[in-house]
């Protein structure tokens, strides 16, 4: 019964979206983190989604859900701020802010939560159909 496969698909989407939500949370939490050098400054992290392709015997390749292929760090330069009083400041008195853009992150968060809700909707629809199929002929 391939309605069960929909559970897998929707489940994979939900876990991918929650990975996206957690990177967003991590980015927002570190939005104001400062560091003593550009190399150690916090860089915003984004998950990369990828379709999971499955080939069932003798049929066209059908995709089955989505997975997080990896997490990439933003390459944007962290902002340099002159703040000699900060204990983390380097010899020139600069500290390095994280390169997180809170607006981007919030938009990402809303998008992820909408997608998550869509998947939950799909899941509950197919669950309902499955239960109705079970009660066939009664």
């Amino acid at each position: 019964m391939s309605l069960f496969k929909i559970f897998d698909i929707a489940g994979s989407a939900m876990s991918a979206q929650s990975a996206r939500l957690s990177t967003t949370a991590s980015n927002l939490a570190n939005a104001n983190t400062v560091a003593g050098s550009a190399a150690t400054a916090y860089r915003s992290r984004q998950p990369v989604f990828q379709t999971v392709m499955s080939t069932s015997e003798g049929m066209d390749p059908s995709s089955a859900g989505v997975r997080v292929a990896g997490i990439v760090e933003s390459t944007a330069e962290p902002a340099k701020v002159q703040e000699p009083g900060n204990p983390l400041a380097d010899e020139n008195g600069y500290i390095y802010m994280s390169n997180v853009n809170p607006v981007d992150e919030l938009v990402n968060m809303i998008s992820a939560s909408r997608s998550y809700q869509n998947s939950v909707e799909v899941l509950s629809t197919s669950k309902e159909l499955l239960l109705r199929t079970l009660s066939i002929g009664q």
Binding site: S2, A10, Q17, S63, S115, I136, G137
Partner: protein, 134 residues
């Protein structure tokens, strides 16, 4: 008379299979709504039903010897999905339209439930015929 009932079963079972396949594709589309370069896929219910209905054969069985029986294949119970033409292009090359997918899922789910209802009432009819309505 009884044969008609079996034919009805056949039709609606096929419809269930196609609705099932379509739901799976749509679930896939929703799952990949944020995947770059993902192309949304769907099947056309009408053509799927027609191709499933032609019992005499998209895929006839191969006969290699004289004794072999000629058998018309019903074909696999799946239809080749087609790619959807997007209404508006997106920067990441993704062609999933969440609204469309949700509408299609609602529609397919209603079709599925309609087929279930038909099958149920067929079973009830058969049972009535067996028990004489008692």
């Amino acid at each position: 008379m009884a044969l008609d009932i079996y034919k009805q079963f056949d039709l609606h079972t096929r419809a269930l299979g196609i609705a099932n396949q379509r739901l799976e594709l749509l679930a896939d589309n929703v799952a990949n709504a944020d995947t770059p370069q993902y192309k949304a896929r769907d099947i056309d219910f009408r053509t799927a039903m027609q191709s499933a209905g032609s019992l005499d054969g998209d895929l006839p069985m191969a006969t290699t010897r004289t004794g072999h029986l000629q058998a018309g294949g019903a074909g696999p119970n799946t239809t080749t999905p087609l790619y959807r033409v997007p209404d508006q292009p997106s920067l990441d090359g993704n062609t999933v339209d969440s609204q469309k997918e949700n509408a299609a899922i609602a529609e397919t789910s209603v079709r599925y439930q309609a087929s279930l209802t038909f099958i149920s009432s067929n079973i009830r009819g058969l049972r009535d015929a067996i028990t004489g309505g008692r």
